[in-house]
Amino acid sequence: MTDTSPTTADPTARAAGDRLLDVRDVVKRFGGINAVDGATLDVVRGSITALIGPNGAGKTTLFNVLTGFYRPESGAVVYDGKSIFRRQPHVIARRGMVRTFQITKALGAMPVIDNMMLAAPHQPGEHLATLLFRPLASRQREKEVRARALELLDVFGLTAKADDYAGTLSGGQRKLLELARALMVEPRFVLLDEPMAGINPTLGARLLDHMARLREEDGVTFLFIEHDMEVVMGHSDRVIVMAQGRVIADGAPDVVRNDPRVIDAYLGDPDRRGAAS
């Protein structure tokens, strides 16, 4: 298993200009373990791409590297034509590349509406100088931000919860809040870490619908880690498979589903499986 070249679904669709994210040979080491071990992949502009792989494949670690939360040992990460390798998380987020977390990070002791409004960019009132000397600019922006926040809460069915503390939301509602909050940043690229885990199918369907609509209307690109194969196969244009810190397959859902290397990664080598039994 030294061959790590991915199976390419459609080479013509992935010219440099079409690639929103370009990841080359990224290595992230913890002690002696290479959690991400030379991962190379790209994400096409306007796509909904799934990132799958068995537990411990390095998917979440890779997310943390891409969004600046972990400092990688080596490699290259280019987003929208500019390197974001080893940049600070807030710098990356401000460029429109926004993530959610596997374990939700709802700001529990803040109301839902404040969670939402916090995420809005270009708020002059977040700087002390403008806050004190141009209070009107801050108040004007607050009005716009609140309207936008209420709009999004409505889309995600959280309007009734707007004034409740985020800590009172259920697990599924927190997932929705986190996605809604990420959208407040006005992102062009959203990375979702297991968005479906722990949310009921009705809410899950709403979330997927909304992703599709954002892609259609605003050209937002999505990369999401997911274990639910039905969701992966039914709702992504492309699937990237990771195992042991590397990308082992990459292509259209149907192609990846039948790739022996993928089956192997999930179930183990068929020969050795036979030998062991």
Binding site: T67, G68, F69, Q88, P89, H90, A93, R94, V98, R99, T100, F101, K105, A106, L107, G108, A109, M110, D114, M117, L118, A119, P121, Q123, G125, E126, H127, L128, L131, L132, S138, R141, E142, Y165, A166, G167, T168, R181, A182, M184, V185
Partner: protein, 320 residues
């Protein structure tokens, strides 16, 4: 047969209340800074007494050694304390919050020991005197005009008015900046730094601002404490001062500036009133007993109202 007799004369004594008022006001200002750090930003600053010391000594040294006017020395020393906040924050705010707490307490002790030993500069344990001439002059003028409208002849009354005016102005200002998008980012950092980062907020810069402002506010509280005693001495900046500040914070409740004011008044009324406990004990034992009583009241408060007087219970429970 007096088991615990308190002579209530003290409570009708104007001087007693003015004394309590000055201390409560100064400690309330002190704790306003802590509130911004601990209650709103979630950074555990245990070095507030150090910033207070830097402010007080900077003011004293500017006036006594460099002939700067007292009124100009106040803003200058406040800026120096804020710069110290930035300086200590730059390395220390990168640490995890518990390590940060330890570093700040060490920093405050370094400042105090330096003040104790750099005798040329600070007067060491002899203290620094003669920085308050301008203030005394002004204070007597105010006292005279107060007396002329029949407001008694209390020596500390002008200081009391100055402390409480400053306290109210700072409270209004701090409330304004924390009930804003800026304050919302601070609260988000308190709740979850990584979430704030992921949403594009420069967490480190906000923590640094929060610490610098708290340092400046701590310096201001120091001016009143040293004016109250008319000299500056290293013992005024022991870690105990910071701990009393935290007692005020816990009493009043987190994330409430008004709570801080109420907490400070209660704490200092208790600490000063218990001086008058009339027991057949030595003065030292009575002094210890005062702190035992205050401690007991804090324990009872924690048991029956853990969120403090004005703190919000939901925010405490839902915090994590």
């Amino acid at each position: 047969m007096s088991v615990l007799a308190v002579t209530f004369d003290a409570f009708t004594n104007v001087e007693f209340w003015i004394g309590v008022g000055v201390l409560a006001g100064a400690y309330a200002i002190f704790a306003l800074g802590l509130q911004l750090n601990v209650g709103y930003t979630g950074i555990v600053n245990f070095g507030q007494a150090g910033f207070m010391a830097i402010g007080a000594y900077a003011m004293g040294i500017l006036v006594v050694d460099h002939g700067v006017s007292f009124w100009l020395a106040l803003p200058l020393a406040t800026l120096i304390a804020m710069a110290a906040g930035v300086l200590i924050g730059l390395p220390a705010l990168r640490l995890r919050s518990d390590y940060f707490a330890i570093v700040t307490i060490a920093f405050a002790e370094m400042i105090r020991y330096t003040a104790q030993n750099a005798r040329e500069l600070t007067g060491g344990n002899q203290g620094l005197l003669g920085f308050d001439d301008d203030w005394v002059e002004f204070s007597i003028e105010v006292q005279d005009s107060l007396a002329s409208v029949g407001l008694g002849d209390q020596f500390l009354l002008p200081l009391l008015l100055a402390v409480w005016t400053t306290l109210l102005v700072l409270t209004v200002l701090l409330r304004r900046v924390t009930n804003s998008p800026w304050g919302r980012v601070l609260r988000a950092i308190r709740e979850d730094e990584d979430a704030a980062r992921a949403l594009g907020k420069n967490v480190f810069a906000y923590k640094l601002q929060s610490l610098a402002i708290a340092a400046g506010v701590g310096a201001i509280s120091g001016y009143f404490l040293v004016l109250n005693l008319a000299f500056i001495n290293p013992q005024q900046f022991e870690p105990l001062v910071t701990f009393l500040g935290y007692a005020v914070l816990v009493l009043g409740g987190l994330a409430s500036y008004v709570g801080v004011i109420i907490g400070a008044v209660i704490l200092w009324t208790l600490l000063e009133a218990t001086r008058f406990i009339d027991l057949p004990l030595s003065a030292e034992k009575v002094a210890s007993l005062r702190f035992i009583i205050v401690g007991l009241i804090l324990i009872l408060l924690m048991a029956f109202r853990p969120q403090g007087i004005l703190g919000k219970k939901e925010e405490m429970v839902l915090g994590d």
